[in-house]
């Protein structure tokens, strides 16, 4: 079965640079979520989209922005990168916003040097 696809798998950037992470949800899934996970931490919610509109917002820094496109894929744009942004970034998708499971991709490992 098709899963959530994230690219790139690994990304190395320097401080103050920008990065763009991409997420392709499971076919027919209309909701996308972004999470950040530091080492030994639980995933922290950043932002979500339903039918291309932002549906909920968590601890996403103002330096970050995201959007969901007409084909339902989503991109997380990160600017003025800081060392503390180094983490695993996961995207998840679900069918609808209510009681249906979120399925996660294998993440993008971002390293800021």
């Amino acid at each position: 079965a098709a899963g959530v696809i994230q690219s790139p798998r690994h990304l190395i950037k320097e401080k103050r640079e920008t990065a763009t992470l991409k997420c392709y949800p499971i076919p027919r899934h209309d909701t996308v979520y972004w999470y950040q996970q530091g080492p030994g931490q639980d995933p922290q919610f950043l932002i979500s989209f339903y039918e291309k509109m932002q549906s909920d917002k968590g601890s996403i820094p103002d330096r970050f922005s995201a959007q969901q496109f007409s084909d339902y894929h989503s991109e997380l744009n990160m600017s003025s990168l800081e060392l503390g942004d180094s983490a695993l970034y996961f995207c998840a998708s679900s069918l609808g916003q209510g009681g249906s499971p979120l399925h996660f991709g294998n993440g993008t490992r971002l390293t800021v040097t």
Binding site: P43, Q44, L102
Partner: protein
């Protein structure tokens, strides 16, 4: 803010024994709960879910129990296998809001 948490950070069990991983949640308005398994370098993998109108749900070798009175969730794994070694997270959701993860439990299966 309200959050979901786990009682134990680590759990070691003998291969073939049953495992029980516990979780306490504090948001009484949460109506949907999910257990995830996460292996190193991978994303959280869906195991089983339960809605607040149920108190038990069974899957293949796994059972989730929900006690809304004391706001407690547990995951039972039958006949634990080496491949079950991973970090397990419970997560809770309220309607269309975000899914909130609790702190994970590292399950280690001993030979």
């Amino acid at each position: 803010g309200e959050s979901v948490g786990l009682h134990l950070p680590t759990l070691s069990v003998q291969e073939g024994d049953n495992s029980i991983i516990n979780c306490a949640y504090s948001n009484s308005a949460s109506d949907y709960f999910i257990w995830y398994k996460q292996e190193s370098g991978k994303g959280p993998q869906f195991i089983i879910d339960i809605r607040s109108n149920m108190d038990k749900r069974q899957g293949q070798r796994v059972t989730v129990l929900l006690n809304k009175t004391v706001k407690h969730l547990s995951l039972q794994i039958a006949a634990t296998q080496p491949g079950d070694s991973a970090v397990y997270f419970c997560a809770e959701k309220m309607s269309a809001r975000q899914l909130t993860f609790g702190s994970g439990t590292q399950l280690t299966v001993l030979p």
